[in-house]
Amino acid sequence: MAGIELLSDQGFRVDGRRPHELRKIQCRMGVFRQADGSAYIEQGNTRALATVYGPHEASGGRVRAQHDRVTINCQYSMATFSTGERKKRPMGDRKSQEMSQNLQRTFEAAIMTQLYPRSQIDIYVQVLQADGGNYCACVNAATLAIIDAGIPMRDYVCACSAGFVSDTPLVDISYLEESLGGPDMIVALLPKSEQIALFQLNSRLHADHLSKVLDMATKGCKDIHTVLDGAVRDHVSEVTDSMARS
């Protein structure tokens, strides 16, 4: 695989994007009826589904319930058909566990947890097709699902990845760009306050470049916010229209 030029001299990435361009985002909210909230998102070829249940009484009785805030339970899984080779274990492997934990941390920071003491919110996300930026797509889908469920949050949580190739930061990197080495930064951001809910960096990046790459990722998060916000507003007006009609 070596020898693929991730960024051409003319400034195009392998798939034809420029360094600062996101992949195409398409999303839908309220895709399921049974769940309290649900959403589906496509970021390029990465596709993710999120469902939210709750807030409801904490399962496992009083032991797991927290007296001052809601318990957030996240579960991340990848569909067996999500990658080129069929995946044997869709969930429960170390990577999924880590992702679940990261998601939990992210949403504990964003959801107004103090509003529902002694209760629980379940967030289930599944990657249907993986092509880089799985975590980001999951966060964005979960955000939409939580909004769909009507659970109050401080702000949207938008996540975006960024890489660094030949002295240029690349936003929203695809699987190819991820797998050819180089640093891979993941940022989950509350866009209005620019507070970082989660920050992760795989492989080494020199401190001199850190701010450049972080800026790029932040910019990406804000762009995603614009898209998600538009989708939410469309969805809301759609819902109100249908309510008005009925």
Binding site: S8, D9, G16, G84, S174
Partner: protein
Amino acid sequence: MLTSKSFVKKTKRGSVIKVVREHYLRDDIWCGSEVCDICLQEAPVLERHPQIDSDLCDFPHYVLPDTNVLLHQIDILEDNIIKNVILLQTVQQEAKHRSLPVHKRMRDIIANTDKKFYVFTNEHHKETYSERKPGESPNDYSDRLIRQAAKWYKDHLERARKQGSKVTDGDDESGVSVVLLTNDMANRDKAREDGMLAYTVHEYVKSLIAKPELIDRLAQITSAENERKKRDSDISSDGGRKVLFPEHMSATQLQSAVKNGTVKQGTFHASSENFREGHVSIHGEEQMIFIKGLANQNRAVNGDIVAIVILPKHQWTCPSSVVAVDKADKEEEGEKDFEEGENSDSSRPANSQPTGKVVGIVKRNWRPYCGVLQPSNNMEGTRHLFMAAEKKIPKIRIETRQAASLQGQRIIVSIDSWPRNSRYPMGHFVRLLGEIGDRDTENEVLLLEHDVPHLPFSESVLSFLPKMPWGITEEDVKVREDLRHLDICSVDPPGCTDIDDALHCRELDNGNLEVGVHIADVTHFIRPGNALDDEAFNRGTTVYLVDKRIDMVPELLSSNLCSLRGNEERFAFTCIWEVTHKAEIVSTRFTKSIICSRAAFTYEEAQLRIDDKSMNDNVTLGLRGLNRLAKILKQKRLDNGALVLASPEIRFSMDSETHDPIEVQQKEMRETNSMVEEFMLLANISVAKKIHEEFPQCATLRRHPTPSPSSYEPVIKAALAKGVELEVDSGHALAQSLDKAVIPDEPFFNNLLRMMTTRCMTQALYFSSGTLPFEDFFHYGLAAPIYTHFTSPIRRYSDILVHRALAVAIHADQSYPSLLDKQNVQTMCNHMNIRHRMAQYAGRASVALHTQIFLKDKILDEEGFIIFVRKNAVQVFIPKYGFEGTLFLRGPDKDKDGLFKYNEEECTQSAGNVTLRGFDKVRVQISAETSNIQHQKLRMKLVEPKVSGFSVDPQPAEPTREVESQPPPTKKQRRGGP
């Protein structure tokens, strides 16, 4: 703006998996032409009025080459006459995939703004992309993409012209058209059907009125193409010519064959003595596989990575000790010779080696070769043979019409292909270097053959130089230690302009001494990552030829701002020790400083000052102190087991006008040489410790591997013949036995022995500290556990890296990413090792060249020593000129055969009562042999001891003539160890 389009690819990675990638098509990729007002481009590359005089296309046009044209005719595209070229992304990527060197050259062309090459990203353009049709081969697909892009350009420029003429109100400016260049006839015809202008390169180049000689540079691949196409049909009937070579295996066949082990792959090394023989070194195996005969070599050229099969044991043979030179003048003769070569050897020698034959080429390693045109009877003809300067390269057939004017000139030729029916590879003429024997030409050949980058520094590199007049500012004084009050001086060889080190020594109040080594602060001027830095890294080292110096950094730095000249204020990187009078180090510190050297001495001047008792100024006192300490330091080092090695170093005195060498001298060693060397070693070791402490993973260090005892065998054997025993168990033992090995009657013996010992060792190497365990850091020659190069940043890039690391370690500078990357540092070290070695070889080749010039038209009797006895010759070393030559005892004329008898056990040659042994003193007559213009050699004849029927009479003494001489640029003494 984004249109998404995904497509499906299958890749093999053990199993077949489906890869889906997105492919965005855009509408913001501009055409890059000045003519166009439709595109919103900022800086169009292609000119409004492209001008090229062609009688085929006598209208303004842009050129659009296809992949094969780019790959094979890059020499044409590089010519200045070809401008305004559109390179498609498809073409560029395919070229990159198939040949990285071409890709790199192409990128250089694109970067050159005068050439007006524009890269059009056609596969991401909305209108020029199309999907691959089912069943379409990759080649056909890319050809179609290229045609589609060419068509789009044609229509687009047409539209732009219409719109442009509307705006400029009917100014009937004739539009610019696009000419597609392709050597694939089918492709050309299809393009013509679509109404495009399409020509083959040959048609196009022939039509260029301005530069008819460009035709010579066309690569001769047409016939290879034909052959490829006819492969399925009967090949032997191709053009009625005989097929000489077996077919190569295809890439896929090779892959599977290598995998299941029936075929081995390795690097092909042609023999420099016999063109029919070669070896293949297989990766990871010690035994070389022998290849005999041209058919078995099967068109492998020296350096290629080839696939071979090993022949059954009964076909094994061994290298014949015959020297064979390819003498064929014409192709037909060559073919005859071909068969002879195959059949001449039918004996099965007892000491046979594993023998194999080449069945396929994994990767060609062709490069442009320097050489001359072989003289032929028919100078008017267009087909000629070219002989490369490197003996391992076969002759190359080229087509040229300027043969007469190329006669007696050095030229560069590239190989294009080697079809099966051709005795020789086919190539094309690239460039004329100059006349044979002309010093500048020969120098250039030497530099090219050793791959030394020697072009003048480019504008972009020079733009990073400090602006003159340069001065020290307030801020500089603030961040640097002011050492201008110290009595610092430098000691260098005469005529040295790149002074990179200076010293001082003074008494401290507490009775100890303070010693300082001040090294030019080159990294202050060369910042990491800019063009100047890249260029310096690429050059790696300054190369010293006898009459020329090829600088690593531009002259403004090397000879002015970074040269610590006398009485000028300069920036330095200083290493200061406090030492006792017994040379024990009390403390060490490093600092960036400003110094003002009091004087720049030569070794001789410094020596005179030290010896002159009447001089007692501070500088002289300092020198004396340094000298005294240096002696102690040296003794300590020798006690530790450091080796004193010898290498023949000579200097030429040059005629001031003709620059011909007129006299040869051996370099002298004075006390002061060793004084400076000692402190440089100390500085290097101190710095090595410091940077290794600070950067255990990524410090640039230098090691000298301990040689295995078996590598000393030849010298031990030779010394034994003289009754001297060498112990090689440890460096210490070796140093002691070398010291003892003195034969009173033969003062040169010890030197000779050291020289030969040096040759048995491997070279010292740069490496990144994280790649090896600490025990392997050892520097054998200096007996130092850790070592680096710090003291010559003007002429070595390694020192620049070390300076940067040290500056970070003392918080004087910022670090940067690539400095901290272990792998990256190791890659840089490997590069510097190669450059370093090549610089040494180039330097030696330059000395050989000048010895040659010096001895031209002279016949001299000189004293020499036998350093090696061979089966049919003895190697004789001549100390006066520092070169060695071969004295053939069995010449080509057979009548002398049998005169000398070779004793294999004792390594002697004897004839009558005369016996030649290793280290024996002989007198030889040397003269330059000029019969072969390509490889001029020195011929040796024996004078003493007298062997009747073999030796020649001594020459009458020649009166020496006195000519005013000027010193050539000097190479600094081997400072800081080997």
